[in-house]
């Protein structure tokens, strides 16, 4: 139940800079997902917030109070470690009771918390097992439980669902979301799984190589990725990128590629006229239209691979000098695509993303 603010956090392990000027804030009671590829410093951010790692520079504020010099035990945070960090000499139940000693609860309250967490995590038959007798997924649930039995200022969850099977993972992420909302406890949630991130987040922080690349709601991050990295990281299959040259012809700006010529919308025309350079055009796989017959402003391409998913199709297409992916709802497609078939391709004009080639920043 605190508002978290990080300002200019810099962390270095030896010579390697792990966090570079990390700044963002999380409003009171919201769930913030930190995501990014492996080794981008997500876990280190959590450790800094918990006080386990001391940053070289920068400040951490809880509700506007400086926390840098507050020892971890006094920050009142509950953390679920990626490596579980279960106490090996205690049973599941004892592992969960351990953090409750410090909370000095009445026996009834303790029992209630224990029962709640047991049913939540489906651990009834395993309460008296030792961590060594549990599988990875079960151990992870114990680790998650040890954080969730508490009512701290802040939950720090480091890949809390990474080892669970798909069904349990979907169920658990909904449960975590529910708990977090009803208890109104600010949560930092680390995951590299971006579907999970999109599903639970109020706010997303996308990181790469120790830098914050974008902070925003899941929709913002998805619909208006601020740079090439975020655009490529969020969304499966990833966004198609086409390096294009900007050319003017008859008062209109065209984006030209060996395979196609694209006429952007008027509002983007102005933006492009200022730049008049090469840029990168990004189109998400679901913003591509396919048609079996020639269309206006369409270019031809061949279907190479068809990957049927549950209710959609992922098609790999090859045009002249380009390979790109298209995602389609099965019932939205007016025809039955077949491998090797020639189709006509159009990009949805409202949903294009334009990036500067040098800075890789978005400019539309």
């Amino acid at each position: 139940m605190a508002e978290i603010r990080l300002e200019g956090i810099q962390v270095r392990y030896g010579k390697r800079v792990v966090l570079k000027e990390v700044s963002f804030s999380v409003p009171n009671g919201s769930l913030c997902v930190i995501t990014g590829p492996s080794g981008c410093g997500k876990t280190t951010v959590l450790r800094v917030v918990a006080g386990l790692t001391h940053p070289e520079r920068g400040e951490v504020y809880f509700d506007g109070q400086r926390m840098i010099h507050v020892p971890p035990s006094e920050r009142d945070v509950a953390m679920c470690f990626q490596s579980f960090a279960l106490y090996p000499h205690m049973t599941v139940e004892e592992n969960w009771l351990f953090p409750l000693y410090a909370e000095k609860l009445s026996p009834e309250e303790t029992k209630a918390r224990l029962t709640e967490i047991t049913t939540l995590l489906h651990m009834e038959p395993l309460l008296y097992r030792y961590p060594k007798q549990l599988s990875g997924g079960q151990q992870q649930r114990v680790a998650l439980g040890r954080a969730l039995v508490r009512r701290p200022q802040l939950y720090l969850l480091d890949e809390p669902l990474g080892n669970l099977d798909a069904k349990l993972r979907v169920e658990m992420r909904a449960e975590i979301r529910k708990i977090q909302e009803t208890r109104h406890i600010t949560t930092l949630y680390v995951t590299h799984d971006q579907t999970e991130a999109q599903a639970v987040a109020d706010q997303m922080v996308v990181m790469d190589f120790g830098e914050v690349k974008q902070v925003g709601t899941p929709e913002e991050v998805y619909e208006k990725p601020r740079n090439l990295f975020v655009a490529g990281f969020i969304g499966t299959p990833r966004m198609n990128f086409f390096p294009v040259s900007v050319e003017e012809e008859g008062g209109k700006i065209f984006l030209r590629h060996s395979a196609f010529t694209f006429l952007p919308l008027p509002q983007e025309q102005a933006l492009l006229r200022e730049r008049k350079r090469e840029c990168i055009l990004g189109v998400r796989p679901e913003n591509v239209f396919l048609s079996p017959i020639p269309q206006e402003e369409a270019f031809p391409a061949n279907i190479e691979v068809i990957e049927p998913q549950s209710n959609e199709l992922i098609l790999s297409l090859r045009g002249e000098g380009i390979v790109f992916k298209v995602r389609y709802q099965r019932n939205e497609l007016s025809f039955r695509p077949e491998g090797g078939e020639k189709v006509w391709v159009q990009f949805e004009k409202e949903a294009i993303h334009l990036f500067d080639r040098k800075s890789e920043e978005r400019f539309n």
């Binding site: 960090a85 000499h89 410090a102």
Partner: protein, 308 residues
Amino acid sequence: MRELNQILVPKRRSQERWFRFLLFVPTMVFLVLMVIFPLVYSVNISLYDYVRGREPRFIGLGNYLQLFQSEQFWLVTWITLRITLTCVAIEMGLGLLLGFALSQRIPGMGFFRLIIFLPMMLAPLVAGLFWRLLLDQTFGLVNFFLERIGLQPVEWLTNPRFAIWGIILTDVWQWTPFVVLLTLAGLGTIPPELQEAATLDRAHPWMRFKHIYLPYLRMPIMLAVLFRSIDTLKMFDVPYILTGGGPGDLTTTLSLLGYRNLFAFFKVGVASAISWFVVIIVNVLVNILLKILSPKRKIPTETVDTGL
């Protein structure tokens, strides 16, 4: 091909068996020559009235009976046990404390960690000599400082009350570092994230010691107690060099008694009997200590595969 295999496979199997046995032979030869034969031989000797230069005479358990009736023998046994228990207790307590202190990540600790192991590297005889000089009544450093701070000088090595403490002091000085070493090793095996989890769970120091440190220190502690009690029960060199067993027999250990019987009185049979008595005492005491120290509850080590 299959027929051939039916002949070749069993043949190779039997060859393998022979080879395995062959690898075993050197160990067996070594064990028999160096351990089993001397042991059996010394049991045998302890059953004879055997004084060097005389014909050995079989007397059954006569040597043992003679020992058990001797007041001196029981005094020496009692002194040995007293030295052992006192030394192990002090060394464990001090060693654990120092171990915890030295495990702190404070700059400069590496240097202390290095020098604290120095006593352990000395030969016990050297350590004994060293302390004999330090504790000397007239020109020893210890008494010098005692006088300096206005206390009476103590007859460390000749006073019946203090002589045993001179021995204990030397042993503690030399072997506490061993306990420190094992403690540090044990503390080093604690996963750091476990301590971090305990920190975030706001465990107070006692809980932390009981649930995080102790489980990882149990094995090192057991080892240290074992090694130290076995070693002190057999202690010979320190009293030999420091006090010569005196005053009277007040610092004579069982090993020293055995040595005297063998090399001063040439009573080979009695000396063997004493040695065997030491073996028995060591076994009994070690088993008692293991019983006391082993964990009250068994944590199953087998992993159960239960799917996810």
